[in-house]
């Protein structure tokens, strides 16, 4: 991996994955970074983008200005509390759906050592504990911002050769309807007395996830999180496309929603929100019955843009156990066994903020370009 930091006048968008999710790092100029979500590179314990910044010798405590947590469950926030603790100057943004009596109840029941082993709720519990510690010390950043449609989360200016370029990050979701339906979901997850303790299972739909619209100069980026399309015009992508006012112009870079799944593909995203032949980036997801993107998804992406990239090869690989004893035992007890998240990669886009010069895409690890057959 290249170890050079982006130049002061250079924008960078990097996506890392898979690792039960993905992580994104944005450089908005002059050493300022924004981090979205968190995932762990296989066999490592530090969030992938944090490790990347450390490798670039970035001073994480001061350089990271914003952390956005687009989900509340496992697959996008492993290591999030580490991120919050280390990035002491970063404002924190979470989904507006989490300001909820029922989510608070889930934190009380599932956070704080009542249940050994990590989970998304435990990470959130740890994040709030860090905020408590900061309050006690009188540290400035001791609350989180809530993401809702059209909210300005971050604003900055980059001055280059006498010209000022605006940097703005807006959230486009979750919608009011999604926030309300999330309350029912949280309530249903509160356990019944007399039942066994177990980890919270990630919800099957992701309507509370936070979609971001980033503007750096005249360059726009749409980070689609895991938002899916729905039949309800007040949730999913429809409400963003029809009602969000923060969307000005069209995005040249699209972090494809929900690992490229068809359930998140709305043709209006490509028609209304994206420039012609945008750069599309995504990471695969391979857990349980979900194996995304599938072949049809890759073909669809390749047909929509010649500039589509993915961080690793999707699909599960049969796991070859090295130890003979273990292999014999496992083969007799299982119908199948496969490796998850076998690949790992980074897609990095850099370009000059002023005029887009030196625009380049670099692929690291298992990342590759999706091409039409």
């Amino acid at each position: 991996m290249s170890s050079n930091v982006p130049k002061d006048d250079e924008l960078e968008v990097s996506i890392f994955g898979p690792g039960y999710g993905e992580a994104i790092a944005l450089h908005t100029g002059f050493g300022k970074w924004i981090l979205v979500d968190s995932c762990l590179q296989p066999t490592l314990t530090k969030p992938a983008h944090l490790q990347y910044l450390e490798d670039l010798k970035v001073d994480i405590a001061s350089a990271v200005k914003l952390i956005v947590v687009t989900h509340w469950h496992d697959d996008h926030i492993q290591g999030m509390s580490t991120l919050v603790r280390e990035c002491k100057s970063a404002e924190i943004v979470v989904s507006g759906a989490l300001r909820s009596e029922h989510f608070s109840e889930l934190l009380r029941l599932y956070g704080k050592g009542t249940f050994p082993g990590s989970s998304g709720v435990t990470e959130f519990s740890n994040v709030f504990r860090i905020l408590d510690e900061r309050k006690a010390k009188g540290t400035r950043i001791n609350v989180a911002k809530l993401a809702v449609p059209d909210k300005l989360l971050y604003k900055d200016q980059v001055r280059l050769n006498g010209t000022e370029y605006q940097v703005e990050i807006h959230s486009l979701s979750p919608s009011d309807s999604a926030i309300i339906s999330a309350q029912l979901d949280f309530q249903q997850r509160i356990p019944e007395p007399g039942t066994h303790r177990k980890r919270i299972v990630s919800p099957s739909t992701n309507n509370t996830s936070v979609v971001l619209w980033a503007t750096i100069g005249d360059f726009r980026i749409l980070l689609g999180s895991d938002l899916e399309k729905t039949n309800d015009p007040k949730t999913g992508w429809k409400v963003i496309i029809n009602e969000c006012k923060a969307i000005q112009g069209k995005a040249s870079v699209y972090k494809v929603a929900h690992h490229g799944a068809y359930s998140s593909h709305d043709p209006d995203i490509w028609r209304e929100l994206l420039s012609d032949r945008p750069i599309a980036v995504l990471s695969p997801y391979m857990v349980g019955d979900n194996c995304l993107p599938v072949e049809k998804d890759l073909k669809r992406l390749a047909d929509l843009t010649p500039n589509a990239y993915i961080t690793a090869v999707p699909g599960k690989k049969r796991f070859r156990i090295s130890d003979r004893v273990v292999r014999d035992m496992v083969e007799s007890a299982t119908k199948s066994i496969s490796s998850v998240n076998t690949g790992w990669g980074q897609i990095r886009l850099r370009r000059n903020i002023k005029d887009g010069a030196d625009g380049r895409i670099e692929l690291f690890g298992d990342a590759y370009q999706i091409v039409a057959n």
């Binding site: 050592g113 050994p116 082993g117």
Partner: protein, 221 residues
């Protein structure tokens, strides 16, 4: 040949105030902490207001009024042991618990008398002892260090010749946490539960690394 672990175990020790009489195998099964069959098959040595001691296939329980210990030598049950401690702390959340130890112990086979003696010489050089004692030999070494984290307590390592293996060494790593110094504080069990939930892997790894490093000291001397 590097030192080989022949036996290893884990124990969790709590210092506080306990009622040994309640810790019967059937109580564990009633609260879903052990399987009913395990509880029924337990070998009970004593259940008494002052002391409780019983064993199951994988678990040993030793409780007196001020000391609670559960342990196993079955590597497949280390996490089950942790969960057992967490479960007990959940059920007895108002039990005063002041101190907790997460302990790893190992018997290493050093394979040769030469390496065995070399380790003893390395840990306790005999130069200063020779004028004082005839044929001095190390019987026990205890070294304590401060904790590498924000918790109060220490890490204490005990090294002794193994009582189980000829030319073996016994190493115990005691990961000691002080939970509260105030007699009136009742949140010691909450803190213990938090540590067991969040620090278990770290404690296990630290114990293993320390023991492996010490066991190797007799090599290439």
């Amino acid at each position: 040949m590097p030192p080989q672990i022949q036996v290893q175990g884990v124990s969790i020790v709590l210092i506080g105030s306990f009622n040994p009489a309640i810790f019967q195998p059937s109580w564990f099964a009633l609260h879903n902490l052990l399987r009913s069959e395990e509880a029924d098959a337990a070998t009970i040595d004593i259940i008494h207001p002052d002391v409780a001691h019983f064993k199951t296939e994988w678990l040993e329980v030793n409780i007196v009024r001020d000391r609670f210990q559960i342990s196993t030598v079955q590597e497949s049950y280390y996490e089950a042991l942790r969960d057992l401690a967490v479960g007990i702390l959940m059920l007895l959340s108002h039990t005063p618990v002041k101190v907790m130890g997460i302990n790893r112990d190992f018997h290493f086979d050093l394979a040769s008398e030469e390496t065995w003696h070399a380790l003893g010489h390395r840990l306790v050089p005999k130069g200063d002892w020779n004028p004082l004692l005839k044929n001095p030999g190390m019987e026990a070494l205890v070294v304590k260090g401060i904790r590498p984290d924000a918790f109060e307590g220490y890490i204490r390592v005990t090294v002794q010749p193994s009582g189980r293996i000829k030319y073996g060494v016994f190493i115990e790593v005691n990961d000691h946490y002080v939970l509260t110094r105030d007699e009136k504080e009742v949140d010691g069990s909450d803190k213990a539960r938090l540590i067991l939930s969040e620090r278990w892997s770290e404690s296990m790894q630290r114990g293993s690394e320390i023991a492996q490093a010490i066991a190797k000291l007799g090599e290439n001397v």
